[in-house]
């Protein structure tokens, strides 16, 4: 019970810190709008099909959601290191995973907000809508996508605690996922080897299901896509289990929780 309360408090604190942080507004509001604008201007050419335009409607929101969920988790830990609180929270009787659980959930909640400005911008600026939205399939796909983002963020977050330089190394992963997981265009346009890499990323399958739930036609194999995304997410969690044990130990060997 006290562990759940600790996680909840970490969630509340992460929300409070985001509410008062200007950087947070850039991440969930400004950057997704910019991506959505670029996407919609590029896709909104004469003769473009509405099935392509959904990449403009949802793409900016997806990028914002992913960025806040993933990068904010790592960036938050880097901030904790800079402000000297990383050691303080690490040395409490609450395991790191429980603290990061609250923090990542805080990021997910803010990340979801990214869909609001981008969808509003698409509708008001371009009269773009989701042409054949199946609400139930859309909601389930968004739920599966949330699970995928959560599992990646919670798995990779402890690496930021372990290495001071993790932020630079993992920053590239954020951008890679934009492309590999088909946030703004179908994965089918990628090179075969890139499609292979995309296949082991859970968001690829969830994003495919999400877009399919907004357009007519097919064939759409939602059950398979949800299952693969869910299975990959669980696999990430299994890795996380071992990773947290490793980080708890290695951070105490290297002393990298402190700035110097």
């Amino acid at each position: 019970m006290s562990l759940a309360r600790a996680s909840w408090r970490a969630f509340v604190v992460s929300i409070r810190l985001r509410v008062i942080s200007p950087w947070s507004y850039l991440n969930w509001l400004v950057f997704p709008l910019l991506f959505a604008a670029v996407g919609l201007y590029v896709l909104n050419t004469r003769g473009a099909s509405s099935s392509h335009l959904v990449y403009g409607v949802l793409g900016g929101g997806l990028i914002g959601y992913w960025s806040v969920a993933y990068i904010d988790a790592g960036n938050g830990i880097q901030d904790e290191r800079w402000s000297g609180t990383l050691e303080q929270i690490f040395a409490t009787p609450t395991p790191l995973w429980a603290i990061l659980l609250g923090k990542v959930c805080g990021g997910m909640l803010f990340g979801l907000l990214s869909f609001l400005p981008t969808a509003a911008f698409a509708y008001l600026g371009f009269h773009a809508v989701l042409p054949a939205l199946d609400p139930w399939k859309f909601v389930i796909s968004l739920g599966v996508l949330t699970l995928a983002f959560f599992c990646i963020a919670i798995t990779l977050a402890p690496l930021f605690a372990l290495w001071r330089s993790a932020f630079q190394m993992l920053n590239g992963f954020e951008l890679g996922v934009y492309i590999l997981c088909g946030f703004m265009f179908p994965v089918a346009v990628l090179a075969p080897w890139a499609q292979g890499v995309a296949g082991v990323l859970a968001p690829t399958w969830a994003v495919r299901a999400l877009y399919a739930s907004t357009v007519a036609g097919g064939p759409h194999d939602f059950a398979l896509w949800w299952l693969v995304a869910g299975a990959l997410s669980v696999a990430y969690l299994v890795c996380a289990y071992f990773l947290y044990g490793l980080v708890e130990r290695e951070a105490r060997v290297s002393g990298e929780l402190a700035l110097a």
């Binding site: 402000s83 050691e87 002393g255 929780l257």
Partner: protein, 326 residues
């Protein structure tokens, strides 16, 4: 039956492994602790003194489960720092000096609530304890202000409040008065002494000799990762008990005159420190009266001010133990 130590270290060693160089990276080992033995009794206020880089913070971090020793053993309340960290963390508190380590954009109250939950303190206890701590540490009435609006002294007291949230049996304080103004530092020392008098075991690291002299029951001096002296402040002072100190101010102190002073009978060391436009010369010697009478001969033609002779202090003992080079 012997009292079981509250904090104990046996042959404690810590080696940091790092790399240097850009293109040809070379592995480097940095020895921070070289086989430290230490035993601190329950209820004791123990001070660890040493220069920067001596190993004070490393030792504190090992005892607070933030670092693993490379070899040797360390226990707190009979719990091993390597294996029993989860049980130990509920029973210890720690405070690192300086302004970092708090969420500046949150209020003092939010900081305390957060850490109370991370320390798994039951909510009914938290509701009583936080107001008590705020009152005791002089933060009541300012708890809803953002920490960034606090003075340095208030931040340090908030640190201490955080360290006491779980009512720890053992409290580790790493240079808690660093950077505080004299009044703030004195207030904090009074609180620390009160905590020790209330039965808490306190492990304090500090640069300030008078601080250790004033509040610690026992002290140890660490240099280069090794304990070079251990005992009560008065027993440490005995290192220099057969010595006295002669001090004076002079404007311009040529090196050859310093050498002449060092050559005087009974002189153990001569230190020259700049003080505004003048230099303060401190001579540690076995017969201060003899040295004072010879000053006029050695420093003939120089104008000496504020010539005095005094008993050695803990700082003099510390300087002798650490060596003037540090």
């Amino acid at each position: 039956m012997a009292v079981k130590a509250a904090i104990e270290a046996r042959q404690l060693r810590k080696i940091y492994k790092t790399t240097r160089g850009v293109f040809r990276r070379e592995k480097v080992e940095q020895v921070a602790l070289r086989g430290v033995d230490l035993a601190i009794e329950p209820g004791e206020l123990f001070g660890l003194l040493g220069p920067n880089g001596a190993g004070k913070t490393t030792m504190t971090k090992i005892f607070t489960t933030l670092l693993l020793p490379t070899s040797g053993t360390a226990t707190v309340l009979g719990l091993d720092v390597v294996r029993d960290q989860w049980r130990m963390r509920r029973r210890i508190g720690f405070v690192f000096g300086g302004e970092r380590g708090l969420y500046w954009r949150l209020s003092g109250l939010d900081n305390l609530r957060y850490f109370a939950d991370l320390y798994r303190v039951p909510p009914e206890v938290t509701r009583k304890r936080i107001p008590e701590l705020l009152e005791r540490l002089g933060l009541a009435g300012r708890e809803r202000d953002r920490v960034e609006l606090y003075s340095r002294g208030m931040k340090q007291r908030l640190h201490l409040a955080r360290g006491l949230l779980n009512d720890p049996e053992v409290l580790f304080l790493d240079e808690p008065t660093i950077g505080l103004d004299p009044v703030g530092a004195r207030e904090l020392r009074v609180i620390v002494r009160e905590l020790a008098d209330a039965g808490k075991t306190i492990f304090l690291t500090t640069h300030y000799m008078f601080e250790a002299d004033a509040i610690c029951d026992r002290i140890a001096v660490i240099k280069g990762g090794e304990i070079v002296a251990k005992g009560t402040p008065s027993s440490i002072k005995k290192v220099v008990q057969d010595q006295g100190v002669v001090e004076f101010e002079v404007v311009g102190m040529p090196a050859e005159r310093v050498a002449s002073l060092r050559a005087l009978t009974g002189v153990r060391s001569v230190a020259v420190a700049d003080h505004e436009l003048a230099q303060v010369v401190t001579i540690h010697c076995s017969r201060p009266a003899d040295v004072m009478t010879q000053l006029g001969l050695v420093l003939d033609g120089m104008s000496l001010e504020k010539v005095s002779s005094r008993e050695p202090t803990l700082e003099d003992a510390y300087v002798q133990l650490i060596g003037e080079s540090s």
